[in-house]
């Protein structure tokens, strides 16, 4: 049998995937029919994993930069060099930073954290997409007592009422999108809240198309309507009114004015009241929201958590609240403690020209967004570990080859806390090693003995150190399709609390001079800065054909606005932002966006580097970030 079961590594859904392999090369892909979440389906990325895993753009040997060029080196040589050079830096004084990968396995992540703390003595750690996910984790911890999803993804299949806030899940996590569509067909009420008419919105029973930046307001209004209904009906639900923060929350909700709501969000309160009646009648409620680099802002996530608690349905065995991660092991990376700590941000250190940072250790970074490139280039030492060749290699002094996800044993924790095991099924081309082996080699050279012989032993160390993983082993995970980590390991689990809310009515930052609210949109074949998808054949072609149609990128506007601007599809326009950056870009006319809004896809390099990157807000506020712009006919 050439088909080996594993977990797809190309988004946070954690779909079951067979790879057809002869042991040295991956020949094909098939879905796992009995997988409880993916149920025999894969998306365009999963179906083309064989193309990615066959790429020639692999790092196959350790490399060391000499006279400006990378040359091949032995593992010992590279390890010694790293230990010597990093030994000259003072990790405790924030001179060494580590940038982990949210695609690495838990074993790799755990070993990397240990390397950082035990060997380099640094607190400067970070994961690529952490800003957005930290908001989710903090909000969920406060509301439910543990940093992870409430319930799991299979509950989509049975819930009465499903609310999707933001994002086009049909594009970012297509298999979850497919399950949602199936739920709608079997009769669940599927409600979307998003400012553009996404595919998911089109497949929903009801779409609330709010004005940009007002998701939190609409969610709070829905909470107000739900609460009012229950008060009128004298429906007393559990002890919701005794939960911490209840009084403040309810008082704040009461202040919501329906006129101001409609002005700010474009949605009538009556419409929300109708929705609240349906929500009230639902026995089980599933709420999904995007988490990660283009996720939601803190206030919106808090509004979601509050609403979830207020529904009083979260104890139902079919209810769930899930931060849907776009990256395979984002949740696991947080569980392993790879996200930055307060006061020690590796991104902050990179952005601050006066920070003491001298060396950077990077794992598998997305090459589309190397922020602070100059700062990184000026560092004394940059170490890069990765399976695939990448623009970060140009900045690296030492490079270590890693295995791809199917070339070593490892566990991955997907969006709903499901920990799944992938076994090695194909040999690594060249001298690639699992991350934990590289980090252990460095630790050993520096005089530390970890003594791990295989990934299962690393996992044993994880179960000792991370309470939520205490009852898992590779042996247990090898049967079936993963196990959710144990929420009861968190003492506060089950103690629900409300977030403090402030009601305000976001005014559009647009003005007469800059009348368009520009937001970051999504492209179907674009994912993860395309670091990986660019190494495939078919998905890359799909991405390229968008670029061929719109070589300079595009900005989506609605037909009415196009008519006003007197432009047609593919015509070039000048886009000028309120802070003065400008770019030339083509127009894409789409009926799915609202008048006065414009979407710029998050995938064209100079859009990010020249235009968006100047907006801190574009990253911190994620999906809710708005840039006021002017669009002029060229």
């Amino acid at each position: 049998m050439n088909y080996q079961a594993c977990v797809c590594n190309l988004c946070g859904t954690g779909c079951g995937q067979f790879l057809k392999t002869d042991g040295t090369r991956v020949l094909g892909v098939a879905p796992i029919v009995s997988h409880p979440v993916s149920k025999g389906k894969l998306c365009v990325r999963g179906w083309h994993a064989n193309e990615l895993l066959n790429t020639n753009e692999r790092i196959t040997t350790p490399l060391i930069r000499e006279d400006g060029r990378l040359r091949e080196a032995s593992l010992d040589e590279a390890v010694s060099l790293v230990v010597r050079r990093l030994g000259e830096c003072n990790g405790a004084a924030d001179e060494i930073g580590l940038l982990a990968s949210a695609r690495s396995s838990n074993e790799d992540g755990f070993a990397l954290r240990r390397l950082a703390r035990e060997v380099f003595k640094t607190h400067l750690l970070g994961v690529g997409a952490e800003a957005g996910h930290r908001n989710s984790m903090d909000s969920l911890s406060h509301a439910f007592g543990y940093p992870g999803a409430v319930g799991d993804l299979t509950r989509i299949d049975k819930a009465d009422y499903i609310l999707i806030v933001g994002t086009d899940i049909a594009r970012q996590n297509p298999i979850i999108g497919g399950n949602l569509h199936a739920a709608q067909r079997r009769g669940a009420r599927l409600v979307s809240l998003s400012s553009s008419r996404t595919q998911m919105a089109k497949l929903s029973t009801k779409h609330f198309q709010q004005k940009p930046g007002t998701k939190a307001l609409v969610l709070n209004a829905l909470a107000k309507a739900l609460h009012a209904l229950r008060t009128v009906n004298h429906a007393r639900h559990a002890d919701i009114d005794r939960l911490a923060g209840y009084t403040q929350y309810v008082n704040a909700l009461r202040t919501i004015s329906s006129v101001a709501l409609e002005n700010a969000s474009g949605i009538r309160y009556e419409e929300i009241e109708e929705e609240a009646q349906i929500l009230d009648a639902a026995r089980s409620v599933v709420i999904l929201f995007p988490s990660g680099i283009s996720g939601l802002d803190k206030r919106t996530i808090e509004a979601i958590c509050n609403l979830a608690v207020l529904t009083d349905r979260m104890d139902d065995p079919q209810s769930a609240l899930i931060p849907v991660a776009g990256i395979s092991n984002l949740q696991g990376s947080f569980d392993m403690g790879l996200s930055g700590e307060a006061g020690h941000s590796v991104f902050g250190s990179l952005a601050d020209p006066d920070s003491p940072l001298r060396a950077l250790f990077v794992v598998d970074h997305d090459d589309g967004i190397i922020r602070n490139r100059e700062r990184i280039a000026a560092l004394e030492l940059v170490v890069y570990c990765g399976a695939f060749r990448n623009a970060f290699m140009d900045l690296a002094d030492v490079v270590f080859p890693l295995t791809a996800y199917n070339e070593s044993d490892g566990t991955y924790t997907c969006a709903d806390r499901r920990v799944q095991l992938t076994r090695k099924n194909t040999d690594t081309p060249g001298a690639g090693l699992p991350g934990w082996r590289v980090y252990q080699a460095i630790a050993e050279q520096a005089g530390y003995t970890w003594g791990w012989r295989d990934a299962a032993e690393v996992f044993l160390a994880i179960t000792d150190a991370i309470p939520a993983y205490h009852d898992l082993t590779h042996h247990r995970l090898a049967k079936g399709f993963g196990i959710h980590w144990d929420i009861t390991a968190f003492p506060a689990a089950g103690q629900m609390k409300f977030h403090e809310v402030q009601i305000d009515y976001p005014k559009s930052p647009t003005c007469e001079e800059f009348p368009f609210a520009l937001m970051v949109g999504k492209g179907r074949h674009f994912w993860h800065q395309n670091n990986l998808m660019r190494k495939t054949l078919i998905p890359r072609r799909e991405y390229d054909q968008t670029l061929l149609l719109y070589p300079q990128g595009y900005v989506e506007i609605c037909p009415e606005d196009a008519q006003k601007l007197k432009v047609k599809d593919k015509w070039l326009v000048h886009l000028t932002s309120s802070t003065g950056t400008s770019m030339k870009i083509a127009v894409k006319v789409s009926p799915d966006v609202q008048p006065g809004t414009a979407y710029i896809p998050y995938f064209i390099k100079n859009m990010i580097s020249d235009f968006l990157i100047r907006y801190d807000n574009a990253f911190s506020a994620g999906e809710e970030s708005i840039i006021p712009v002017r669009i002029e006919e060229k």
Binding site: M1, N2, F18, K20, G28, S34, G40, L42, V44, N56
Partner: protein
């Protein structure tokens, strides 16, 4: 027509393994999923296994195949070309009739038209096809609607049908006859045909209770599709549900679209890869000069169903492109596997 015992069948498989690459149904131990894959030494085809989860075309037209390698020596100014695919004789042991019908469609596409595809021909030329009559349907099956099962009519070398006391072996080609003659198999009496007919009847009778996932009276939909009378809203509704994953084409036994790409290796050499492709991708229909005659997703979707169900297309395959295996319905993240699309179209007709 011969009658063989299970032992005879197993012996045949073992014997063929000495000279051929023998492929057959196998069950994945971890997941229970069935694949039609290369049998390991001493491994026997599981003739009772369910319909394979992936189509058998994987053997003749793989998902990804290296077909050519070429390199250029700049100093000697010499180009070398190397063929990358092998011509090892193959046996497809225990094909389900629907998968055989798929191979017949592929034959007509790759071999039966103006151009003959060398790579496909190399795989196909030395393939021995042994079909296995279905004695029961599975949840996803609707071959009775597409006339591709439960028993195969033609196109096989040998056809097996499990009867109460052994396998009825029917010969469909000279290759198959040669094999029978070489073994001196015991001839079956004429009454065995009636026993086979009873097996097939029993299988068909079980469809209403067992094969509940899909029903597709495709002959009704063919007329509508051919004449172009399907309302645009129906296609739009179908297009909205398309997640553009390409899965339907990858698992369809009769889908033949492919992509060719030359991938540069280190140095001066290059590898030519052939991968499966799908009409659901917009890059697939985009033309040079950036015109895309099928830009909206619903236009791309209806192309697929035209290809499977219109008369004009069926004339090329000498049968409808759908073989009733139900795999596209199983892998679709939307709800637009072929049987369901047929339902949508028929519902429109009845309304």
């Amino acid at each position: 027509m011969y009658l063989l015992t299970t032992q005879d069948i197993n012996d045949l498989a073992r014997e063929l393994q000495k000279t051929h690459a023998v492929y057959g149904p196998q069950v994945n131990a971890q997941t229970g999923q069935v694949f039609f894959d290369l049998l390991a030494e001493s491994e026997l085809p599981d003739l009772d296994a369910a319909i394979p989860s992936m189509p058998v075309k994987e053997i003749l037209f793989p998902q990804m195949e290296r077909i050519l390698k070429y390199s250029y020596d700049a100093q000697a100014q010499r180009v070398t070309l190397e063929k990358q695919y092998g011509e090892k004789p193959k046996v497809l042991f225990g094909l389900r009739p629907c998968d055989l019908a798929g191979i017949q469609c592929l034959d007509r596409f790759f071999l039966g038209q103006e151009f003959v595809d060398d790579v496909y021909l190399a795989h196909r030329r030395q393939s021995l096809l042994i079909t296995n009559t279905c004695t029961r349907p599975w949840d996803q099956c609707f071959c009775v609607c597409t006339h591709t099962g439960p028993a195969a009519d033609e196109g096989f070398d040998l056809d097996l049908t499990r009867l109460d006391d052994g396998y009825l072996v029917q010969v469909g080609s000279e290759k198959g006859q040669a094999l029978a003659d070489a073994h001196g198999w015991k001839t079956a009496e004429h009454r065995r045909l009636a026993e086979k007919a009873a097996v097939v009847d029993r299988c068909v009778e079980r469809f209403p209770d067992q094969a509940k996932d899909n029903k597709a009276w495709i002959s009704r939909a063919m007329n509508r599709i051919t004449t172009g009378f399907v309302k645009h809203e129906i296609w739009e509704y179908i297009g909205q549900q398309c997640f553009e994953c390409g899965a339907c084409s990858f698992v369809c036994p009769s889908c033949s679209c492919f992509n060719i790409e030359d991938v540069t290796l280190c140095g001066d050499s290059c590898e030519r890869l052939r991968t499966r492709d799908s009409c659901s991708f917009s890059g697939y229909t985009r033309m040079a000069g950036d015109h895309n005659p099928r830009a909206p997703v619903e236009d791309r979707r209806n192309k697929r169903f035209f290809c499977k169900l219109s008369y004009t297309q069926s004339k090329k395959y000498l049968r409808p492109g759908c073989v009733g295996c139900g795999r596209c319905q199983l892998v679709c993240p939307g709800d637009i596997g072929l049987p369901n699309v047929v339902q949508y179209i028929r519902r429109e007709t009845t309304e």
